[in-house]
């Protein structure tokens, strides 16, 4: 539905992140860096090898890419700091392959839930587009941990996780109420 708005006169949201958006995207970047660091810790643990290690490494690199993409959206406002609370909650669970899977799945679900709540507050449409394309992959990565090494349907579809997104009100002028020609 990429052309869906073309025929409808409607208010046009801003493309660039607003000031409130930037604060929200700082949070998003923080959880992405945390996820990357946890995957790197797991990959370096020596508990994974071969295709399994390649998958862990790939998932971690995805989160690194997301942190960089958010960096591109918010520029100088980027803090490039991981969420220490999220990191410390899970880093101790990477001791065995089984507990690591559970921890990494929980991290994926937490990051996806956080990004979803952030997306629901954003005004800048560029960030909405990027975050949407990140969230669907994070949901997939969470589900993979429910399908390997064997299918556990309940686990694969489990999306329960606490969002770490704060509620940050937008300034009144954040939304540009202009009308485009039909």
């Amino acid at each position: 539905m990429t052309n869906a708005q073309a025929r409808s006169p409607r208010s046009t949201p801003p493309a660039q992140p607003t000031e409130a958006d930037k604060q929200l995207l700082q949070i998003a970047q923080g959880v992405e860096i945390t996820a990357h660091d946890l995957y790197k810790k797991a990959a370096d643990s020596g508990k994974f090898a071969g295709d399994e290690l390649a998958m862990i490494t790939m998932f971690g690199e995805h989160h690194n890419m997301y942190a960089q993409a958010i960096n591109g959206l918010i520029g100088k406002a980027a803090t490039n700091q991981r969420n220490e609370s999220l990191y410390s909650t899970h880093v101790g669970q990477l001791g065995s392959a089984q507990s690591a899977y559970s921890a990494l799945q929980n991290v994926e679900n937490t990051v996806a839930a956080t990004n979803t709540d952030i997306l629901g507050q954003l005004q800048g449409i560029d960030a909405v587009r990027v975050l949407a394309s990140i969230i669907t992959i994070e949901a997939r990565q969470a589900a993979v941990f429910g399908t390997l090494p064997g299918l556990n349907l309940t686990s694969a579809l489990d999306k329960s996780a606490n969002s770490l997104a704060p509620s940050i009100p937008q300034a009144p002028e954040a939304s540009t109420e202009t009308t485009v020609a039909p």
């Binding site: 539905m1 052309n3 409808s8 409607r10 909405v128 949407a132 949901a139 694969a156 999306k159």
Partner: protein, 267 residues
């Protein structure tokens, strides 16, 4: 240096005058009446025009609801038609769960639609069914298809990807931020369904990320097909193989302007 004789010059100018006179005789100067029906007899029947469709949040949500019914109907056809056979019969519980999820999505979407002042939509997207699902089911259920159950799973996987991409794509068109969050929440459910089905079709750690079929050069089914959620055509290869051993390839796309569920569309 070119030498043009007086005879050459007269010949060229004579041809120019003749040409201009001929063209003028064929044109308006010769008294031909202008008409919209030059080569027809009688008046053409006026075309019935579609009502003007306005794309807004309600229309986008109604379209999403229609896709949920496409999925519900397809899963129901697989279950009621006994299409999950052999090893794939073990997927029956998963398929029932997926169908229940889609029913819940449709209900949630219709709740949002009514809250926005729109009319709920409780049937499948007719165009999506006609151009994608019906032809696919005909290929799958053909008597000479040796991979009936596997192809049903492949169709379900493709439809889950269509749904995921639709929600992901629509978030930038929805005007209300809270609706964007609702849409991407449903997208995540569809993406998880797709992963379960992808692992059934092409399982194992090596198949999680993108890979290529060495024989055909085409991408294999992947649980995580790209670093970012793709918005692209979705390939579906199904049906009885040809004499060369090739199955039929279809390309599925998310709904466009000609398949939206506008306010004037009803079940």
């Amino acid at each position: 240096m070119n030498n043009i004789t007086r005879r050459d010059a007269l010949r060229v100018s004579g041809l120019t005058v003749f040409g201009a006179t001929f063209l003028a005789a064929c044109g308006k100067q010769s008294g031909v009446q202008q008409s919209d029906n030059i080569s027809s007899e009688g008046e053409a029947t006026p075309l019935a025009e579609l009502p003007e469709g306005v794309v807004n949040d309600v229309v986008l949500l109604r379209t999403a609801a229609s896709l949920e019914y496409n999925a519900i109907d397809t899963y129901t056809a697989a279950l009621d038609g006994g299409l999950l056979t052999g090893d794939y019969a073990k997927l029956t519980d998963a398929v029932k769960r997926f169908r229940d999820d889609h029913i819940a999505h449709a209900s949630a979407l219709n709740g949002l639609i009514v809250a926005l002042g729109g009319k709920e939509h409780t049937c499948a997207n007719e165009r999506i069914h006609r151009i994608y699902i019906q032809p696919a089911l005909e290929l799958i259920t053909a008597s000479d298809n040796p991979d009936l159950a596997k192809d049903v799973v492949a169709l379900a996987h493709a439809l889950e990807n269509v749904a995921t991409q639709t929600y992901q794509g629509v978030v930038t068109s929805l005007s209300a931020p809270n609706l964007r969050a609702d849409a991407i929440r449903i997208a995540q459910d569809e993406a998880r369904h797709a992963v379960v089905l992808a692992q059934v079709l092409n399982g194992g750690y090596a198949s999680v990320g993108p890979t290529t079929n060495e024989a055909t050069g085409k991408p294999n089914i992947a649980s995580v097909p790209a670093p970012y959620g793709p918005l692209a055509t979705i390939p579906l290869t199904i049906g009885a193989p040809s004499a060369e051993g090739l199955k039929t390839s279809l390309s599925l796309e998310t709904p466009s302007l000609n398949s939206l569920i506008y306010d004037y569309v009803s079940c």
